[in-house]
């Protein structure tokens, strides 16, 4: 009899359909020679330009280099421990409900081995318990809220970047060390959690470092407002030594474009907690002398190391612009994940690690990144601390770009709380245990 | 005996236009009253005041001796005054039967019984009976949008009758009905109304219809009653001939 006979039933359409449906429901089989990595970042919406797309470009550059094995030591092994990295990109735009659903789809339908993602704090809060519930490995790479590991404990969830507390503590310390006079300060922050939290951290820091400084205008334009004329009048009306803002992206750009011609920055020192990402695009429109943070030692404030040269120059060659915060942060996440995978593989005899093995390898680990050393010291070894730098802007007509000068680097322990202490309590207690310049 | 409807001193003005001035009308039970008058004479205003659509500036309206001024239309309906409309007010996408069921059920659309099916509690039988009485049973399953104008007119009146009203007000029951259908249609209406033992007031322009079907005629001019009596007398009245029927010229 013909050998085809046993498979004849396959030709019957219903059964074939059922068969392929079953295959679909099972999902693609997990490949053993590659590491499938879900990457979630804003590809549309207001955060795409500032953070999401630079992060995607950073990921593409780093993954390309890693898969070729051409990253510098100790990252010169191909892919993750020899496994080729296979990224699946998902847009973070669309709200927390959608993110939880898509995270599940990534793990359960696309069978990714790990997910690196999330810029929005709300999304991070929402997806962390979902990954924990599924017992799958998740790295949060960018979001700022300290609440994630201060309010809950996770086994499978890590954040490889410091939370937002260091941005504001470092700003305060920088002003203090540069003897910036702060009799009064005005604030303008977006009316949502990032703006509220940043403001609270900044005010608390100022109370410690400048106990006599008086807060004045406290403006809270809504997210994406675009028109700041009224706010600028209010800021100009109540003259203050310092104007603090945690605005970012398009909102920050619009605010600067509208405020600079009205002379707002001539009388007040502008202090921005997260602004390096607008420097390449704003260029000469960025006021000189603004004190800005980058949420890490990133971009123009990054340290001079071979690792950073590889990243900075490689990215710039590929994208024609220097890398900003988003690109750095995803890079430190990917390198941390690489270290963890390779460590786990050393211990399990070279197999692709399980989420449990990955989590064990990641916990309390340390690794070098282009922006400096990342240490998983908080949240029971799940939350990173990292060095940060603050600098002042100056437009350099010769280079046709904004440069940062008078840069000061802060060690991670100087601007981050110790383990088991909530950040806001730490600030209000006067930064106990902070180690600056190697001293406590 | 208390009249079914009694109005005293009804006044209504729209700016400078007087639509009703000192209207006193008593309608005893069982009477068929026709309201006549030229356009703008105040007939429809009278119907709208009695049914609560307009509130009179002054005066009282009593149903069986109880004042109903200021009540919402639905409360007046529940007390027993129902009406039809010059332009039939139907749910055109629903079938004729569904319209009748709505009419049977509407006043019960509160309380727990409103969760029961529309066909229950004898409503379907009631609706079928009325459709039959108006000769509309064959249209029951057709959406109203497909029905001719004369049928819509009758359906509109049938809906007003579902609640066994004490007083039925018909606003121009034969307008838009072709000349040859008018009398058969009115025959149907009178027969059905008689079956429900309702008192009836109808606005009408066709004096042949008025003569044939009304027990009593009330003529309006400029918001006032200018004549009131049996049809033959009123239609002979000089003022009525001058201002209403136009036969004087």
């Amino acid at each position: 009899m013909s050998t085809g006979m046993p498979f004849r039933w396959l030709r019957r359409p219903t059964l074939a359909c059922a068969f392929s449906l079953a295959a679909l429901l099972q999902g693609a089989a997990q490949a053993q020679d590659s590491f499938k990595l879900g990457i979630v970042t804003f590809l549309s919406g207001p955060a795409a330009e500032s953070f999401g797309v630079p992060a995607r470009h950073g990921a593409e550059f780093v993954i390309g280099e890693l898969n070729k094995g051409s990253a510098p030591a100790p990252y010169n092994k191909v892919g993750f421990g020899g496994l080729k990295i296979e990224p699946v990109f998902v847009d973070e735009n669309g709200g927390a409900t959608k993110q939880v659903q898509e995270l599940r789809n990534l793990y359960q339908r696309e069978n990714v081995d790990a997910v690196v993602g999330y810029i929005s704090s709300g999304d991070c809060l929402a997806v962390a318990p979902a990954a924990e519930e599924l017992k799958r490995f998740l790295i949060l790479f960018d979001c700022g809220t300290p609440r994630i590991f201060e309010e809950a404990q996770y086994k499978y969830v890590f954040r490889t970047a410091a939370h937002a507390t260091q941005d504001n503590v470092a700003l305060g310390r920088y002003m203090k060390s540069r003897n910036v006079k702060v009799g009064t300060f005005n604030m303008i922050n977006q009316d949502y959690a990032w703006g509220h939290d940043s403001k609270a951290d900044f005010v608390a820091t100022m109370q410690q470092l400048y106990p006599d400084a008086k807060p004045q205008a406290d403006l809270l334009p809504k997210f994406g407002a675009g028109q700041y004329g009224t706010e600028i009048s209010a800021l100009a009306r109540e003259k203050a030594d310092v104007i603090y803002s945690s605005l970012w992206g398009g909102d920050l750009q619009a605010f600067i474009l509208q405020a600079a011609p009205r002379g707002l920055f001539q009388n007040s020192q502008l202090v921005l907690s997260a602004a390096d990402h607008v420097l390449p695009s704003l260029g000469e429109k960025m006021p000189n002398g603004a004190i800005i943070g980058a949420r890490g030692a990133y971009g123009l404030m990054s340290p001079k190391t071979p690792l950073n040269d590889w990243f900075f120059n490689g990215y710039q060659a590929q994208r024609n612009v220097w890398p900003v915060q988003g690109a750095y942060r995803i890079t430190q996440a990917l390198l941390g994940l690489k270290v963890a995978v390779e460590k786990a593989m050393e211990q399990n005899g070279g197999k692709k690690p399980t989420p449990e093995q990955l989590a064990a390898a990641m916990e309390n680990s340390e690794w070098e990144s282009p922006g400096g050393k990342i240490q998983m010291k908080l949240g029971n070894g799940h939350q990173a601390i990292q060095p940060i730098a603050i600098g002042r802007t100056r437009y350099d007509p010769a280079k046709k770009m904004v440069i940062l000068e008078d840069i000061q680097h802060f060690e991670a322990e100087c601007v981050n709380p110790p383990a088991h202490m909530k950040s806001i309590d730490w600030i209000k207690a006067g930064f106990p245990g902070a180690k600056c310049d190697g001293r406590t | 005996m208390t009249p079914v409807l009694a109005t005293r001193g009804l006044d209504k003005a729209f700016g400078a236009v007087v639509a009703a001035a000192g209207i006193d009308i008593d309608v005893p039970a069982g009477q068929r009253v026709s309201l006549i008058g030229s356009n703008g004479a105040g007939k429809t205003t009278f119907v709208n005041m009695v049914t609560g659509y307009l509130k009179p500036d002054r005066g009282t309206i009593a149903l069986d001796g109880e004042n109903i001024v200021g009540l919402a239309p639905r409360m007046i309906v529940r007390r027993g005054i129902c009406r039809s409309f010059q332009i039939p007010q139907l749910c055109v996408e629903l079938t004729a039967m569904a319209n009748m069921l709505v009419a049977c059920a509407a006043a019960e659309a509160s309380g727990l019984s409103s969760w029961r099916a529309p066909d229950d509690d004898g409503r379907r039988e009631r609706a079928e009976g009325l459709l039959e009485r108006f000769g509309l049973q064959r249209y029951g399953d057709r959406p109203v949008s497909e029905l001719p104008g004369g049928v819509r007119k009758l359906l509109d009146i049938a809906m007003a009758l579902t609640r066994k009203p004490r007083l039925l007000l018909l606003d121009e029951p034969t307008s838009g009905v072709s000349a040859e259908e008018k009398f058969p249609a009115m025959d149907r209406v009178m027969e059905a109304v008689a079956g429900e033992a309702a008192t009836m007031v109808f606005v009408e322009h066709d004096m042949d219809i008025v003569s044939a079907y009304a027990d009593r005629v009330i003529a309006f001019y400029a918001g006032r009653v200018i004549a009131d009596g049996v049809p033959a007398e009123v239609l002979r009245d000089a003022d009525v001939r001058r201002y209403v029927t136009g036969a004087a010229a």
């Binding site: 429901l25 998902v90 709200g95 519930e133 | 639905r74 996408e93 659309a109």
Partner: protein, 329 residues
């Protein structure tokens, strides 16, 4: 379809879905849970829509139900899912009972816009409430059912079963309701509110009750969503969320209760797959899909072989009839 047939059908469908759920892969199970939890909110819009009005503020009740549940869990430690779903529905129903009579005075686009404004005021309040996590919201632990904590794969299934049973019962009740005296009079209100008033019914009263029932359904949807998601945030009350509920209702068409859930599921699937296959242009793909459905299925998904209630189909008429309020003369 008679009411008995509907009831038998409802039991059958719920049973079948419970059985199917055991075979579904985990990601799809969760997606269906979300689709059901959101669909039940759109079911409320259907109730209002049959009376000729469309609410663009159901996010208000979705959020009230969700926050009521999440706060009860976090502040008072109640964890029983059944109790919590009831609580979410009751809280939203209470708010609906207060706002319903106010909103029932409005017709057409004004009703829609006022409901939208109210939901946006709640959104603003929630964003401002730092104690509730502000715009980031907060998380709640997995609930329990009769003392059993819903964890892992079996927990996922239990949440799916909860959503299927609760929304199934809600759909069954709505199907009965639309075939009741009130349901029929609601349809008549859509066509001719004046006449309904002249038949002795209170149009505002009926619409206010429909609105309160829709609010309960919104709250139940919010509660189910929060329990399965484990997270709540102010975007529950944001206008885009409310708009999505309306979209599902329109996608389903005004005729059928079950079509709502089909529409909700289709929307979730399309969004999910377009997000994966076109990460850069998923909004475009979604938009094209929505246009295509509105264009080629004017009666909504429900017009695909569905028993008609009290009316004959006239092409394209149903949606025209959604034009709120105006009496058809």
């Amino acid at each position: 379809m008679s009411r008995t047939a509907i009831s038998v059908g409802a039991v059958g469908v719920i049973g079948a879905l419970l059985a199917i759920g055991a075979l579904l892969p985990s990601w799809l199970l969760f997606l269906v849970t979300m689709a059901a939890s959101h669909g039940v909110v759109s079911l409320g819009i259907l109730l209002i829509m049959r009376g000729g009005l469309v609410s663009f503020g159901q996010g208000l009740f979705f959020a009230v139900g969700g926050y009521a549940v999440a706060l009860t869990v976090n502040r008072w430690g109640a964890t029983d899912a059944l109790v919590l779903v009831g609580l979410g529905g009751a809280a939203a129903g209470l708010v609906g009972a207060i706002t319903g009579p106010l909103l029932a005075r409005y017709s057409g686009i004004f009703f829609g816009m006022l409901s939208l404004a109210l939901s946006m005021v709640l959104y603003g309040i929630l964003v401002k409430s730092t104690a509730l996590g502000g715009s980031d919201g907060f998380n709640i632990p997995r609930p329990t059912i009769l003392g059993w904590r819903l964890e892992g794969a079996s927990g996922d299934y239990a949440l799916y079963a909860l959503a299927v049973v609760v929304t199934g019962v809600a759909a069954w009740l709505c199907a009965i309701y639309t075939r009741s005296v009130r349901g029929l009079v609601t349809l008549a209100i859509q066509a001719n509110p004046l006449r309904v008033e002249y038949l002795g019914a209170s149009v505002r009263g009926i619409m206010a009750l429909n609105f309160a029932l829709a609010a309960v359904l919104g709250g139940v949807g919010g509660a189910l969503t929060v329990l399965a998601l484990g997270h709540i945030e102010p975007t529950f009350a944001y206008w885009t969320q409310s708009g999505e509920f309306v979209f599902v209702a329109i996608l389903a068409g005004p005729r059928s209760v079950s079509a709502i859930f089909a529409a909700s599921l289709v929307l979730e699937l399309v969004r999910s797959f377009s997000n994966l296959y076109f990460p850069n242009t998923w909004q475009l793909a979604l938009g094209v899909f929505l246009l295509a459905v509105i264009l080629f299925l004017p009666g909504g998904i429900g017009s695909l072989g569905q028993a008609r209630i009290w009316r004959r189909p006239t092409k394209g008429r149903d949606l025209a009839a959604l034009r709120a309020g105006e009496a058809a003369e």
